[in-house]
């Protein structure tokens, strides 16, 4: 072979030092403090959405009016009103970050599964990184369930859970929402969520278990078993990736629906997960770990990031174009709320999401050389992660926080808590096993990967 690869030892363990643990814990505490300060500043009327406390009532009325127009267009009674408060904004942030990080975690097992099923070898050198991601799944899943089970927060997030909204006798009755009762009803919804989380997590634990047994005993049988669970996961995820998108994100704007939404949501999760994998691998490499992950493997991962950024845009634009063409009020309300609704407060996130998720990766990741340049790869990964945060922000906020939404200390704080929590759990999981899947049948192929 032309390139004589210096093969480093595949025996390597990640040392999750107490200092590093402390840093993430401090980061999480700083996040909580930021939320508290942000909430205080808004409450005191110093910095926050116009017209929340005292003073600018006119601005608030104006915002409500804009929202009212949209609501009317969707055949939505005026009586529901905005009703969003500061607490709604905080709850919306927690929900949004939970959904985002739930996605990044579950993409870890999704990534491994499709590579198993494709009998791919290239990713084996960094397989343990995506394999560690789903360990975090429990936390956002628990938060989502708690937020939904507590009646007051449930009412803030999910409009369709209000009492009497599906009861023809009630003055809250909403015919459109009532027609969706077969899908959006409490018992079925809760059962669905529990089933998604439990099955995803269970299949991940099985793949993980077999991967660790493979390390210990090195029998090919574990590879076949992992592959079997990967198939189960893909079949299950094929359906649930769409339904979870309807349940966690689309159901917030209860009147509205889009047949593209499941794909759009999955595309957003997937590319964010790929960027997170890339970022963790590059960070570990810069700390001296994973030297067996060569530039060809990184270029392939970079290609996936590039390709799925384009895929996200494709689905995003399809959804937009269909709604634009049909021009039906009950559909256009979704984009109206985001582009000009609530005093235009969601226009910036809407556009930032497009720039960071499409134009930036398109230009930065296109060339071959940039997919082998660690600085550019890191930059693109951060851009994609931040861009898809904005994507989820503009999916959830207009429906939950309404005229109280904004980008400020509360958003930064909540995100910091989730980032630190995610990093802590994933690195902790990573330190529990060898850094390389050392007895994986494709580990040699992966270490020699050359394109």
């Amino acid at each position: 072979m032309a390139h004589k690869h210096e093969i480093t030892s595949v025996e390597e363990t990640f040392d999750f030092s107490p200092e590093l643990k402390k840093k993430f814990l401090i980061g999480g505490v700083i996040g909580l403090v930021l939320i508290a300060i942000g909430a205080f500043l808004i409450n005191a009327g110093i910095w926050g959405p116009e017209g929340f406390a005292g003073g600018a009532h006119e601005a608030a009325a104006h915002g409500a009016e804009a929202a009212g127009h949209g609501a009317e267009a969707a055949g939505h009674g005026e009586e529901h009103g905005s009703g969003a408060t500061l607490l709604t904004r905080i709850i919306a942030n927690i929900w949004m970050n939970s959904v985002y990080f739930l996605g990044i975690s579950v993409i870890g097992v999704f990534f491994i599964s499709y590579n198993y099923v494709a009998k791919a070898g290239w990713y084996t050198s960094f397989k343990r990184v995506p394999e560690a991601f789903p360990a975090f799944m429990i936390i956002p899943a628990a938060i989502i369930l708690v937020l939904f089970l507590v009646p007051s927060t449930r009412h803030m997030i999910m409009h369709w859970t209000h009492d009497g909204i599906m009861d023809p006798a009630s003055h809250h009755y909403d015919k459109i929402i009532a027609s969706k009762e077969w899908w959006l009803n409490m018992p079925f919804y809760i059962v669905r969520l529990v089933v998604y989380f439990v099955v995803w997590y269970y299949l991940w634990t099985q793949i993980r278990k077999n991967s660790l047994l493979e390390d210990a005993h090195g029998d090919i049988e574990y590879y076949h078993k992992s592959r079997l669970y990967a198939k189960y996961f893909l079949v299950f995820f094929a359906v649930t990736s769409s339904t979870v998108a309807w349940d966690l994100s689309m159901a917030i704007d209860t009147h509205w629906f889009s047949t593209m939404f499941g794909w759009y949501h999955l595309a957003s999760w997937h590319v964010a997960g790929l960027a997170a994998i890339m970022l963790v691998v590059l960070t570990l490499k810069s700390k001296g770990y994973l030297s067996g992950v060569n530039d060809s493997a990184l270029q392939d991962l970079g290609k996936l990031m590039f390709g799925f950024s384009i895929f996200w845009t494709y689905v995003w634009f399809d959804q937009y174009l269909l709604i634009f063409y049909a021009n039906l009020p009950e559909e256009t309300i979704y984009f109206r709320e985001r582009i000009s609704g609530y005093g235009g407060r969601y226009f910036a996130p809407f556009m930032i999401s497009l720039v960071l998720n499409f134009i930036f990766p398109l230009l930065v990741l296109m060339a071959r050389g940039s997919k082998r340049n660690y600085t550019l790869l890191k930059l693109a990964s951060w851009a994609i992660l931040i861009g898809h945060w904005f994507d989820f922000y503009q999916m959830h906020m207009p429906g939950i926080a309404k005229d109280q939404g904004g980008i400020g200390l509360i958003e930064w704080g909540t995100t910091a808590v989730f980032v630190c929590g995610f990093a802590y759990v994933v690195l902790n999981q990573l330190s529990k096993a060898n850094m390389y899947a050392k007895n994986h049948p494709f580990i040699e192929e992966s270490l020699h990967h050359d394109i």
């Binding site: 072979m1 174009l321 634009f324 063409y325």
Partner: protein, 173 residues
């Protein structure tokens, strides 16, 4: 057509041919081409081939497609016979995108294919040059064109033998 004289080194193994490529090139011999039954990673770098600049025709054809598609939609829907579709502007930006996208991809991919065919001399009537039938089975052949090299026939044959060729043949085409 004047015949060209080629000296062919036949190798049994891809490792050997890879070593031989750098060895023979190190002695200042220009290699015409190496033939192999399967792709060998790193062979292009060893042969010193420059990166294929397919991006250039792809961009040129693509941008042509983009321009044509914009002109087409603008001319047909907005200029020659303005059409009112759903009460929108005559040339709303989003409606152009699918056509612009499709024509860009179409012209870029066809353009790249035909540029590739042209550069590689591939056509339905082209006659392939097969230096040795065994390259379709288990042998690796390094072809060296005599007239392109200052070294004599014997020197080249010795260089091939010295770098591990199992046999050296002469072929005129």
């Amino acid at each position: 057509m004047a015949h060209k004289k080629y000296i062919l080194g036949v190798f049994d193994d891809e490792e050997e041919v890879m070593h031989a490529v750098s060895d023979v090139r190190g002695q200042g011999v220009k290699i015409h081409e190496v033939y192999s039954p399967f792709p060998i990673h790193g062979l292009d770098q060893a042969l010193g081939y420059p990166r294929a600049r397919m991006g250039v025709p792809a961009f040129l054809f693509g941008i042509t497609g983009t321009t044509l598609a914009f002109l087409l939609t603008f001319w047909t829907l907005g200029w020659d016979w303005p059409m009112n579709i759903g009460g929108k502007n005559f040339i709303p930006f989003p409606t152009n995108i699918p056509i612009v996208f499709e024509l860009t991809v179409l012209l870029a991919s066809y353009g790249m294919s035909f540029v590739f065919f042209g550069m590689e001399g591939l056509s339905p009537v082209a006659k392939p040059v097969i230096f040795d039938k065994r390259i379709t089975d288990d042998k690796f052949v390094m072809a060296i064109e005599l007239s392109k090299n200052s070294a004599s026939e014997k020197e080249i044959a010795d260089a091939l033998k010295g770098s591990g060729a199992s046999e050296v043949n002469i072929k005129e085409i």
